[in-house]
């Protein structure tokens, strides 16, 4: 690992600190916050595989997220499946739906791709709220989403569920990290850097893009399912386009195209939400302002700032 950049070590440390904070923090609120951060991080890491690594702006990830949540809920509550297989099915459902989206959306590029994914996701949202009301519970949603039942541990306690989520989070980040440095991830980076050249050296651009969209859909589906089980509830709101918007904001705040940036973004987003919503009921607007300012002045997000600080320190070291 000669190319291990020191600053990514710094990022990894920060992320580890966030992930392990419940061990020292007490109080149900803080724990709930960390659990939320872990779940949304899985979503954001998966989203960034498409956005930051492969360079595709999707506004449709809410669909994979919400459908994953519904698949877990319906399989466990109606068909009596166990939690883990249902979680796997939720991921698969997210992935397959993403693949389906990609068959339509990848016929166009850039802004049209963003619009098309948005439209497809919104179509699912409308269907869920109207035509599929029997299945989705309509605007009321469905409650009673279960949590895992393993080794006799009581995962209905948030403190125990934290460990399950932490394990899923570590797994998610490890797989994403491997994908990024693998030939597959390198090929995607190449496509983002120069699509024409990537195609002309023999990469099957469309297939590679569809593959990463599939993987990203799995991440979204699983994280959606985990969120439903954290709050014991799922509703079409999870399918709404603002969910897609939220994950874009998180990734951009944290730093797109980096492994740990999305996690920082999620942490910042959730902490801001937690903090601002106690101060004012207009936190979403303030978040919008913060987002605008960050997009203009720090396009590389928090990860970019960590990198800059790191470079300043390491330069002073050399003096």
């Amino acid at each position: 690992m000669s190319k291990l950049q020191p600053y990514s070590v710094a990022l990894a440390l920060i992320v580890t600190a966030i992930a392990l904070s419940p061990l020292v923090l007490s109080g149900g609120n803080a724990l709930n916050l960390v659990n939320l951060i872990l779940i949304w991080s899985i979503f954001a890491i998966g989203y960034d595989l498409v956005f930051g690594v492969a360079g595709m702006l999707s506004f449709g990830h809410a669909a994979f997220f919400g459908v994953g949540a519904y698949v877990l809920t319906l399989l466990t509550t109606r068909l009596g499946w166990d939690f883990l297989p249902a979680l796997g099915a939720a991921g698969l459902a997210g992935g397959v739906l993403a693949l389906l989206f990609s068959f339509f959306a990848m016929r166009v590029a850039g802004l049209f791709f963003a619009l098309l994914t948005l439209a497809l996701a919104q179509l699912i949202y409308i269907l869920a709220g109207s035509k599929l009301r029997d299945l989705t519970g309509g605007v009321d949603g469905l409650s009673g989403v279960p949590r895992p039942d393993l080794f006799g541990i009581d995962f209905f306690s948030d403190a125990n569920y934290y460990y399950f989520l932490l394990a899923m989070f570590v797994l998610a980040i490890a797989i994403a990290g491997l994908l990024r440095v693998s030939p597959f991830g390198q090929a995607l980076k190449a496509i983002k850097g120069n699509e024409l050249r990537a195609e002309q050296i023999g990469f099957n651009v469309q297939r590679l893009r569809k593959s990463i969209f599939f993987v990203s859909g799995i991440y979204a589906g699983m994280s959606g399912a985990l969120l439903a089980s954290l709050i014991f509830y799922v509703s079409p709101q999870m399918l709404h386009w603002t969910t897609s918007g939220d994950v874009v904001i998180m990734v951009l705040l944290g730093g797109m195209g980096t492994l740990f940036g999305p996690v920082l973004g999620v942490a910042l987003f959730e902490v801001l939400r937690e903090w601002l919503s106690t101060v004012t009921s207009h936190w979403y607007g303030i978040l919008g302002l913060i987002f605008i300012v960050c997009t203009i002045f720090m396009p590389n997000g928090l990860a970019g700032i960590v990198q800059q600080i790191w470079q300043r320190f390491s330069r002073e070291d050399r003096r």
């Binding site: 050249r197 002309q200 023999g202």
Partner: protein
């Protein structure tokens, strides 16, 4: 006239046509490129040279005709599939991966050729064979000392060399080069011509080039295009004295 490709041609096209609405950028071109020879494609701006090259490499869809590579029909293949089938291509504007090092650039080309499904279960450094392949081509294009330099920071001439390296990596039997000397300074031009000569050994090369001295010097055959059609084709001496070519170029030659 039958649409059969000539036996033994490395690359051939049969009556191909590329149209944009009513405008025909390539209006029925039939040609056989024989193995191991270096062809130059010349003609005034707008004659359809680059479009013809795109039609051969799969960059634009044909409205009519057939392209075969080594006797196999590749008309319906996407650009990446043609590359895999042994048809290399470089572009008028340098096309490299600027955010990556020179070595990483070449390694990408190596993995594109070696794997149909890109491996995802191990870091790219764990695949020795593609690294070796990249190193071999790195030496071939003379960029060893820049291996770990960001490709975006190379001089223009070296970027062109890297571009050629990317094109060469899968050892394609047929290579299409669109103005490989464009923007290359006088000092580097000789180096670039030497590189082209080297890569042309044992390969079929089609070159678009405006520098007539270079064209006359290195070509086995010259193809002159005008208004989407082949006006004349033959060895440099023949083309130099062809009356139609002289007429077409009158006042347009640089």
């Amino acid at each position: 006239m039958t649409a059969e490709a000539t036996v033994g041609a490395a690359l051939s096209c049969r009556d191909i046509e590329v149209s944009y609405g009513a405008f025909k950028a390539v209006a029925g071109v039939t040609y056989d490129f024989r193995p191991g020879r270096l062809y130059s494609l010349i003609g005034p701006n707008g004659a359809g040279k680059t479009t013809l090259m795109n039609a051969l490499s799969g960059g634009v869809p044909l409205s009519r005709g057939q392209v075969t590579l080594g006797g196999k029909d590749i008309t319906g293949l996407a650009p990446h599939a043609r590359t895999r089938a042994g048809l290399g291509r470089s572009f008028q504007i340098t096309q490299i991966f600027p955010g990556m090092t020179v070595f990483e650039n070449l390694r990408l080309a190596a993995q594109a050729h070696r794997y149909r499904l890109q491996p995802f279960w191990n870091a790219v450094g764990g695949f020795r064979e593609i690294a070796r392949e990249a190193e071999r081509v790195l030496a071939e294009v003379g960029l060893e000392q820049f291996a770990s330099v960001n490709a975006g920071n190379l001089s223009h001439g070296d970027q062109r060399a890297l571009d050629v390296g990317l094109t060469m990596l899968g050892d394609p039997g047929v290579v299409l080069l669109d103005e490989p000397l464009a923007g290359v300074g006088h000092g580097d031009a000789a180096k670039a011509v030497a590189l082209i000569r080297r890569l042309a050994e044992g390969r079929t090369v089609l070159l678009i080039e405006h520098n007539m001295d270079v064209v006359m010097d290195i070509s086995d055959e010259i193809i002159v295009m005008l208004a989407g059609k082949i006006l004349a084709a033959g060895p440099p001496e023949e083309i130099r004295h062809d009356q139609r070519v002289r007429n077409a170029y009158l006042g347009e030659d640089e």
